[in-house]
Symmetry: C2
Amino acid sequence: KVLGKKPFASASRLAMSTQVWLNTIPTRNCDVLMTFPPKTDDAVLMWLLSRLRSRIPELVVHVRHHSNTNVYGFYFTASYENILKGADELALVKPVKEKFGGGKKEFAFEDRDCYEGVEDHLNFLNSQERQCIVKNILFSLRAREDDQLGKIKFGEGQGIVPILLSKKMIDQVLPLHNNDDMEFLRKTWVKAVAKSQPLDKICDYFGVKIAMYFAYLGHYTRFVSLPTIVGLIFWCLEKKNQFYDDIFFVAFAFLNVVWATLYLEHWKRQSAELAYKWGTLDTEDELLTEPRPLFHGRLQKSTVTGRQEPYYAPWKRNLFRYCVSMPVIAICLCTVFAVMWCLFELQDYINSKGMKGPPGFLLKLLPKIMLAVSIGVLDDMYKKIAYWLNDKENYRLDEQYENHLIIKIVLFQFVNSFLSLFYIAFYLQDMNRLKDQLAALLITRQIIGNVKEAVLPFVLSKIKLFKMGYKMTKDAEKKKKEEDEEKKKAEGGANEETSNGGVTEVANEASELRQRKFAGAEGGEQIEVKRSGPQLTQAEIEASQKEYEGTFEDYLEMLVQFGYVTLFSSAFPLAALCAFLNNIIEIRSDAFKLCFTFQRPFGQRVQNIGTWQDALEVMSVIAVMVNCALIGMSDLAERLFPGWGTTERLVLIVALEHIILIVKFLVAYAIPDIPQWVAEEKARLEYLRRDALK
Amino acid sequence: KVLGKKPFASASRLAMSTQVWLNTIPTRNCDVLMTFPPKTDDAVLMWLLSRLRSRIPELVVHVRHHSNTNVYGFYFTASYENILKGADELALVKPVKEKFGGGKKEFAFEDRDCYEGVEDHLNFLNSQERQCIVKNILFSLRAREDDQLGKIKFGEGQGIVPILLSKKMIDQVLPLHNNDDMEFLRKTWVKAVAKSQPLDKICDYFGVKIAMYFAYLGHYTRFVSLPTIVGLIFWCLEKKNQFYDDIFFVAFAFLNVVWATLYLEHWKRQSAELAYKWGTLDTEDELLTEPRPLFHGRLQKSTVTGRQEPYYAPWKRNLFRYCVSMPVIAICLCTVFAVMWCLFELQDYINSKGMKGPPGFLLKLLPKIMLAVSIGVLDDMYKKIAYWLNDKENYRLDEQYENHLIIKIVLFQFVNSFLSLFYIAFYLQDMNRLKDQLAALLITRQIIGNVKEAVLPFVLSKIKLFKMGYKMTKDAEKKKKEEDEEKKKAEGGANEETSNGGVTEVANEASELRQRKFAGAEGGEQIEVKRSGPQLTQAEIEASQKEYEGTFEDYLEMLVQFGYVTLFSSAFPLAALCAFLNNIIEIRSDAFKLCFTFQRPFGQRVQNIGTWQDALEVMSVIAVMVNCALIGMSDLAERLFPGWGTTERLVLIVALEHIILIVKFLVAYAIPDIPQWVAEEKARLEYLRRDALK
């Protein structure tokens, strides 16, 4: 009946629903899904499958075919025992039963009975942990001597999956969503705008790295409310009395700097607390961590493990960094600087001509457009260069790779985001224009950012689903016609095929050849399907979604915003308010991205926000300099110290800057980075551990 | 025959010999010696002895009486097995046998057979380690409920020995020298001026803390040779050409700053290497370390160990620090500042009067004397205040206590040592006088320092020995006379007392009462004594020596010197040369102190040079500022940029300072604090440890 409807109507119903999963067939018994590009040769699948089966038998693999997208998928899971062994391998931190001393400890398979709730097969490890474990087992598939697939020759001990992924022989490896948890997060997180975020749940579901980002965002938003309020008061009282205005300006600049310092210290402690709670405060020794898949080097006996491992001499990396990366980046930054400066000058020149009417308006618009275009182009080029340099630097760990990428990108973004403000503030020395420019930048950037990040991908993913739905209904109609025709032709022999949505269990396929080839792929659960229309399985939908691109861009956005708030906000006291309002939306729109638009990401374990913390701290130091300079350059200094000469004022400002910086470092030095209770709890566990050894 | 000599001659022979130990009876089978004040009540000895015997039976105690100084001594040692258990307790790091994986590991008594050389009872642990272990056992003697000695009531679980030490009921607890090792160090260290120091041997004999100081001193001396050479060249070429002089001045200031940064980074790495080699790179969790003896607080159940432990709320400490210590110190510093400044002004005023002849000379001398006196008085007062404040702050660990003391003392010393230079450089702006003053300060301070530190204590200790020898010979003569008289009176019954130098094994004493009281004190070795004159035992001599006062003053001296070299050396290029020459002497004179004059100190385990590193780094930052300011204030800036106004020059200097500081921080950030090989070795051992657990 439903199949008879107009395809367009049916597909649009499917596409318009934001709750597309409710109409889909959930995929069970699958932690991690691997898909291959369409038209992948059967031989490739066979080659990989046989290696998976023989070398990592602890992994359970089902092979299925997604008919709607015409791709093959490997569905991975593992037995509870093997999952526990994997938890040991990953050193997941789990609570210990009270009678064994309580507290939390790295999971050890041998002492598994000591851990709280280990008997509960369903809840001891959440879906995110299971997925990480299964992924870890999957990625532990290593090449042996003479392993070869087509043109790809593997080195002994190389990870097979990462290499096939990088060569695009495997399309993607992704974890699947858990519908109940997802629903819970949508209700208590995405839609509960006025409530605080369920951080522990987010950590359970998306892993520490993403939860840490949202914790940071929430913490920052709470803290930014202070300059918001003070800024609002300042803004209301402004222009009443020149003297009080001046005092307030200085006080506000000072407040900003103090606030930034205390905020950063507080966040450091907060993140240590969270990391402790989430079991990542003590991370593994760097040299014991597995290298990232794309790390390459000459195989040699590792001094650490004694095994054959790729080695890349640090001096080579340093040579490249200092002799190639640094000059190249310097040239890039100078180029951007020069281009932007020239366009500012051009704009200034045109403005000063003061032409009127439409031609004047167009002429004034010209440098703006040129600026937007050139920044876009340069940004794009720079990003490519930065990634290329970073790849060439060949870091061993994902974390190092990301940290160095952060430094490169941040340098560019700093010039890109702040040069116009510096130009206006210190070259033109026009405080009013600075205010306008800051307001414009803050508001436009944030609106564009949110649209680009949340709305656009959501619409795109809907369109994709829409297309798929359209194709499905068309195919179904066609099939129905054929069936009808067949029925007419031969009214005998019931067709007993049980369709599993669009997914066909390969082992049930008619093709005998395949059945022989994939011997052993059976054993997948049989799903009872109520055929209520053209349906997609969860796995098929999620495999077609876009991959979540990580927290990098989000952090970058926040860093730039933090810069606007701390560097120049004394010129525009409402900057903090703009940031505050934006962040309230930002939290939910970033949450929306994760819960509605993108594939579920694998959980990543991080200790803190990494180099972003350093970048924020550098920004807060720059804030001291800029604020002091702003005070020194404004007429304000002249009004506050009327009898003084320029040199005296300058010396005063420089002294002030040095004192503030010294106080700032003293404060940061005096506040412990780890809260007392965390330190005590850590010591207690260490004490117990030692006691147990005796 | 010898006894018949004039007492003066005999005593002087004893006193003048720098090799007094050669004439003494070595004390064997004693790791740690405890002495009591003269006239200590027997009841006190009995009380302590019974508790030692019953509560820490692993300690072997001999009670002896030093007749020359009339004090009692407890001689402690322990069996090899108990020493090994103590090594486990202290977590000493020992090499593991090759067949068990090699490398170094914390000693574990249970796996003692895995350690290299454990069979060798004499050499597995050196004398310093044995002493630390025995001291640790001794200090583990804890009070029980109702323990009371005279008026001293002990809280349950309090350490008895530290409290008796602080109440002066115990005079001292000291480790004894080992004559062979001592001789070796004297030859290869104190007297081998041209050779590099035998750091490992020093560490073996005196412990990590002292070895770290000498390593630092040696490393600094090597590094200071660079500015020495450059400074010499500069000095030779000076006054040839104004332009080149100016360039050189700037270049030398810049070189100093760069040198200081690189030197500090290099030392950080070097010290990490040494700490790794000496087994202290990974120190224990602070909260697991035993509190220092004088730490006090309300007894309560520790959140860490669950035992009753003294607890002092951090907020109380912080309250005191910020509300008492900081204002008090600020007032002190201001006072010193004001007093010194006034005296400088006075000096200046008198100088400007230009009076001639003797009255003029005396008048000119007056402020100098007043300055010297007032600095001396203020220094003394400030030190008392600083110690009092630091005691009140009640730090839990010796390390914290020392670190905070460093901060307090350094602040004062900074004003004290540098104010005159700042006054001349920036207030009077007189470069020539700055040069003279710097030279005078460098040379006089260093000569006075070495005399005060090395010569004076040595002479004093010799005088003390001389007096003891004098008394001894007199006593011996008296005794001989008495004996002669006795012999004359009753020529029967041979006196079979075997004197053990001046030390009498208490158990052999005639007094039966004592023999009963100290039952169990026997068992001490019988030393064969060739009576060749009035002799002192090693223990007696060492107990009468002064205690080594630690490395604090030595570090302070080096810090001030480092300041002279980096802050103002562009004004006086030979500063580094003075420092270099001084340090060559300093190394040996400090070594001389340890090997000839003072008691042997207990070894202390430290990870690095602690807050001194921070102080040096702060000094190097100040150096940037001062050097930039020196350049900015000299006529040089005018000569180099003739067309520029004062403001422009000032901006240029400030910009230069900021750039140098930024580069400095970048360099410090880019250089890893731990050398690669140490990181790799640590990772390797961690890998082995994990592997072993599986």
